[in-house]
Amino acid sequence: MSAAWDMVPVLWQDILTTVALLLPALVVGGFVLRGFAPWPLVRAILWRFRGASALFVLLIAISVGMGIGLLAQERGLRRGTAQAADKFDLIVSAPGSELTVMLAAVFLQPSDMPLLDGATYDEIAGHPDVEIAAPLAFGDSFGAASVIGTTAEFARYLGDGRIEGRMWETTEEAIVGALVPLEIGGEFSPAHGHGDAADHDAHDAAHLDVVGRLAPTGTPWDRAILVPVEAVWEVHGLADGHAPERAGQIGPPFDAAYFPGTPAIVVHASELWSNYALRSQFQRDRETMAFFPGAVLAQLYRVLGDVRQIMSLMALVTQVLVAAAVLLGLFILSRLFQRQLALLRALGAPARFVFAVVWSFGATLLLAGAAGGVLVGAGAAEVLSRVVTARTDILVSAPLGWSEVQFLAGFVSVTLLLSLLPAAVVLRQPVVTALRS
């Protein structure tokens, strides 16, 4: 059975799941409405209670919209972060927390980390399967932008080779991420540290010219200024990674004896399959740690996956509760037209017709609310995406997807079944009592 299901194309799986979720509502609707045309009455009742109806629809739309907006956002965030880690195939660092190193290297949230020495760097860079081995040097900033020392090769790889202007050629030159408020041709002095704690005078002697701009990557690196790693070392009064006879050289190879150290090395293998071999090779107790940021994120999502499920369930429960409150309101409203419902019975309407009128009234509100919820949800997801993107520079886009559609289908089914209850209760009122009242 599950094997057969796996054979079905994903799109069809989604469609079938949605239909299956809607099926209870469709079946019930079919049975309740079969042979009747209650719409003119339902319209009349909706119109009579237009204020309350509009309010109910709004309440449902907001609660449903918040739910699916949040779910879409959560998925968008996962995609955005996964995409941000895309260029970081393998990271080698000193042993410690993979999460800490990943936050520093991929999301530019550096903390103090032990350094890898030149010999280690040489060994990695010299491995035949390694195409790029880029040291990263953190710690400086300009305004809100982090200044990061690395190699020209990695900078090009990061921007997929799309650089406006040109790559740096000296340690006095820099290229900027797409969102950095510096023009090509502009100049800046990096400050030591970040934000309020930054020491603005520490590197006053250093002036760098902006010579290029990377194309947008949708990652925090869009707000970073990239400089030759030698520039960072020099500014801090360290050796520049090259032996005196090669002074002035920019980029690898470095001389181990003159290599000041790097907290992390980003490795890009020449072939995808060699990544695993490289990882096991550089995963050494007490010396180095090698990991795939993508795998760390996946692990994180797995942990959060349970949370997501609980979140979906909570959202669904909340919305069903809102819908139940609405149905209760509807039931109270129905007392206001109980005499007219009794009249229908006096005219000879079958009980099921009266039932159909009350149920359709509720169903209309629920469906309109669910439809409104799609708009609210798409809007909420869009706003949240913008806020998250603005705050983290991780490009998050959260279009509504199948899981939201299915969530909605589940909501519609549960609540349409639930609205059988008030309809049944209305039906239990004796006709004559209602006519006399």
């Binding site: 009747f36 000879g348 017709f353």
Partner: protein, 227 residues
């Protein structure tokens, strides 16, 4: 054509052993116009509800061949849909709908094949009652007399052979009540409908063939009208 009525041993229980209405025997010919009078609380409305099959009763209520009292609630509803029209003191219209939609209300729960016929007859009855020009207007703007005419059209749109009216003129002023009685009586006679009208209105009662008096849940008077 109307239906004849034959009641035997009708008892409407009122809960806690009380008897709201007891009619040991009563026969009415098809097409009769029957007035029902009596003091408030005597059981006049109760009689109408029982005759419409809206109450669980003991005994038999035979409309033509059908004993309503022996049917279950849904069977009685089906019988009502085809055979009984009801009119109430306060019209009970859907204010948001037009005159035709109100008069043809029962089309909404009838089979597809019957709907057009019901609507056509609803229009026809409205025409006959002088509301032809206002058929599409929402009844919210109608006068009391006009509303009660829409209610009559609704009760007669299914060509029901029996019409039960509970104080049909009570909400109308004298002039409107008189015009309504004229139309109601004329229409009932024209179609041969059996009409049973509960009323305190002496002018309505005077137009009937026969008048029953109900006191304390029993038929205490049965006379030819003195028109």
């Amino acid at each position: 054509m109307g239906l004849p009525l034959k009641i035997e041993g009708l008892v409407v229980p009122g809960g806690r052993g009380r008897v709201l209405l007891s009619v040991p025997e009563l026969s009415l010919p098809a097409g009769a116009l029957v007035g029902v009078e009596g003091p408030s609380g005597a059981g006049k409305s109760t009689l109408l509800y029982a005759l419409a099959g809206l109450l669980d009763v003991a005994g038999s209520i035979r409309w033509g061949e059908v004993d309503l009292a022996s049917l279950r609630a849904e069977g009685r509803a089906r019988f009502r849909a085809d055979s009984i029209g009801m009119i109430f003191q306060d019209y009970l219209l859907f204010e948001e709908l037009g005159a035709v939609d109100n008069a043809a209300l029962s089309a909404l729960f009838r089979g597809r094949g019957e709907r057009a016929g019901v609507r056509a007859r609803a229009r026809d009855r409205l025409d006959r009652l002088g509301l032809g020009g206002t058929a599409g207007r929402r009844v919210a703007s109608f006068s009391g007399g006009e509303r009660q005419r829409v209610a009559i059209a609704r009760a007669m749109a299914a060509e029901a052979p029996v019409l039960l009216a509970d104080e049909p003129t009570a909400s109308l002023d004298r002039a409107a009540a008189d015009r309504l009685v004229d139309d109601l009586v004329a229409l009932a006679r024209e179609t041969g409908t059996t009409l049973i009208a509960v009323s305190h209105d002496a002018r309505l009662i005077a137009r009937m063939d026969r008048v029953l008096t109900i006191t304390d849940g029993a038929v205490t008077g049965d006379r030819e009208a003195t028109a």
